[in-house]
Assembly symmetry: C2
């Protein structure tokens, strides 16, 4: 097929008319499809139903150290659960705290503690004129929302296939004491699906920020979420906390993970891995905050997965469901978009998203037109601080939730809309 750029104006208009007809046919279908969030689909949730039966009325709910999981107590999580999370986070058990069902809540709480009480004896952020966070972009909208909630100024840092721009990060944190943190999704990043290179992780671990209460918020949300059985070299990531320890820099990182996209997103267990100093600091507030998290649910997850091998075997089943969806997206994009110069997309080996970059200034219109046709996408700009994509180009594609048939229809809508909006953009220029 000819490149769009090689078509004459009349040919473009003719093509547009044909696409408009297709749109009308699609409109008649009255679709109602949601691709806006990285939600597992029903088939994925069904994989974990045995989780509901590993504990029953005859179970022994006393955990290894003698604590009755049904009763109060056990701040920080039961040992078995800390061990399970430690295994897939590649950390020592002593560096693990277990929380409730939401790792987002863990991140929020840690930012709140820094804001109200300060990090390890430093001035609480609420008392400072200005607090800034670095935000590799595009990134995870809910990270940025936490910054907005606490009035933290966000600075964009460009992402590439090897991770965020480390030159820029090193320069900024070395000179600006008001920079207190950075949000990272280091593996199969949200939304690009990039995994930070060895060099990137090593440079993070050696960071020497001016602010000694600067922290890396390392949201390892997709640590075991591979699409392919044998991860390639580019899908491997160095464990950050150990790397920081090697550099005598172990207090600089908070590392987050959860079982949300391993079993049930609403009913999993979340975890923090960090240095002993940070754990002590966090625990000093923990005791006011809660009577402890749900230990029965912790035990349920331990009984179900048993160990890292159990988690890995389980994740292969997820991959079998997700892989065809991702491949459908990538193949469709390849087929439909290769004639359009200036459109690109990422080709992740794991995680939950494909990142689409349309022609500049088209993303909002694409999302809006898709919505009219019954296909809900993540808002354009959502992956950028303050919802401002400087290029108005990025759209986060979340293929996990719809079934294959629905996904095909959604992609038909999406690709047709992209083509029309791109032609409109080109016609304006010529």
């Amino acid at each position: 097929m000819k490149k769009f750029s090689e078509l004459k104006k009349e040919e473009l208009i003719e093509l547009r008319d044909r696409l408009e007809k297709e749109i009308n046919d699609l409109k008649a279908l009255k679709l109602n499809l949601d691709m806006s969030r990285g939600k597992p689909c029903k088939e994925q949730l069904d994989l974990s139903m045995d989780l509901m039966s590993v504990l029953d009325k005859d179970s022994n709910l006393i955990c290894r150290d003698g604590i009755d999981c049904r009763n109060y107590g056990g701040l920080g999580g039961i040992e078995e659960a800390r061990e399970l999370l430690a295994s897939f986070m590649e950390n020592k058990v002593e560096n693990i705290l277990i929380y409730g069902n939401s790792s987002l809540n863990v991140m929020y709480t840690i930012v709140m503690q820094a804001y109200v009480f300060g990090v390890m004896g430093h001035t609480p952020w609420r008392k400072l004129d200005k607090v800034k966070f670095l935000c590799p972009t595009p990134g995870y909208d809910r990270h940025f929302a936490i910054c907005e909630e606490f009035g933290i100024e966000m600075i964009n840092v460009p992402m590439s296939e090897t991770g965020p721009d480390m030159d820029m990060i090193e320069r900024l944190v070395a000179n600006d004491e008001s920079i207190k943190g950075i949000w990272c999704v280091p593996k199969y990043s949200n939304p690009d699906g990039y995994t930070y290179s060895d060099d990137t992780v090593k440079r993070f671990a050696r960071l020497k920020p001016k602010a000694s209460d600067f922290r890396i918020f390392w949201d390892n949300a997709y640590t075991v979420h591979h699409l392919y059985e044998e991860p390639e070299k580019r899908d491997y990531i160095i464990e950050i906390l150990g790397e920081c320890e090697k550099n005598g820099n172990e207090d600089i990182v908070y590392k987050f993970a959860s079982t949300s996209k391993i079993c049930f997103p609403g009913s999993g267990i979340a975890s923090l891995a960090t240095s002993n100093n940070n754990i002590k600091d966090i625990m000093s507030h923990f005791k006011y905050q809660t009577i402890g998290y749900d230990k029965v649910n912790e035990l349920r997850h331990v009984k179900y997965f048993k160990n890292l091998d159990g988690i890995k075997a389980h994740m292969k089943q997820h991959a079998d469901i997700l892989r065809p969806k991702f491949e459908l997206v990538l193949n469709t994009f390849e087929k439909e978009f290769s004639p359009i110069d200036g459109i690109r997309w990422t080709k992740p080996h794991g995680g939950y998203f494909v990142s689409f970059y349309g022609l500049k200034g088209t993303a909002k219109e694409i999302v809006s037109k898709c919505k009219e046709l019954g296909v809900k996408l993540t808002d354009a700009g959502a992956a950028y601080p303050y919802h401002k994509d400087p290029d108005d180009s990025n759209i986060r594609i979340a293929p996990s939730y719809p079934g294959i048939k629905d996904l095909e229809q959604a992609l038909k809508v999406f690709t047709t809309v992209v083509k029309i909006v791109s032609i409109d953009k080109m016609l304006k220029i010529c």
Copy 2:
């Protein structure tokens, strides 16, 4: 038996010697008993084991409004759970939010939100020179700890059998804008076991505080936790939110409850009942804070209890276990302490505690001596702000956790220690 006050000095010394011998016998037993917290005992936890089997691998985990409980979403709780909690809190479903497993965490979060963001558009408490809370005393130590965590000044308000001193409360809140809240355990209060009278609740509902962001923190922790089948008139409490509505004062109260002492303390569901305005205010922060609470656990509780009748029937079984323990405490106190003028204790019909008031200046020593003998009690002073019992007299007795035999031994230790310390106190005076 003769009153201690009628004994001559020599007789007191002789009695003390005999008690000292008993103490030595008790020491030889090397006891290790914990009566420090209001924890349900194993037999109580066993009552709810069927909770572990109401959901299994074949269960339908889609809730009434079509939400898949396993997946993300559903901030505020599933309708069925809100209905269940509404039934035992005596509130409308629309006024209910469901949280995670800890009502303490709900209270902490609401204080945090007021501190950081402000209540319904008012100045955040962190920006004020002074924020004060009224604390009916003795009260719940973890309430007071939240105030300490946020630097909130606490003002003691004396408790009586009908509730806190309302004259004092009305006067204070009417004149001091820095008073922003009050902690209440209105039913079977912690630790006295008192239930607020109709008049007290009505005066609360009519409060006209100077600070329009003043809130009543109404921790209805023991709402269905009766020891006797037919609650007496004095055990009945007017529902506060409805009473506030009648007075056009519905934004003044946050009402808390949970299933913690109904089924499993570590794995229950907590709830807030409050006005629509307050719910809107709280939800505006909720969305940054979490992806939602554990809806599978909500559904589990609904399937298990079904409705208010289910909860009531269940609570009768708890009462059957707790009643003999409370009666043992009260009968032992009656028998052992009636000769000592100046010692008194409360006689609750529900809740988790008996409040003991020894001679002035003896509580710390009693608790310390009991600890030496292997009986751990709640710290003396714990029920007072800043851990300061002005009379050093109150000790919170928590009879729920030990078995009857252990409780007998613990009470033997306690009563013997109380008598010795009381005699020492009397000998110093005479």
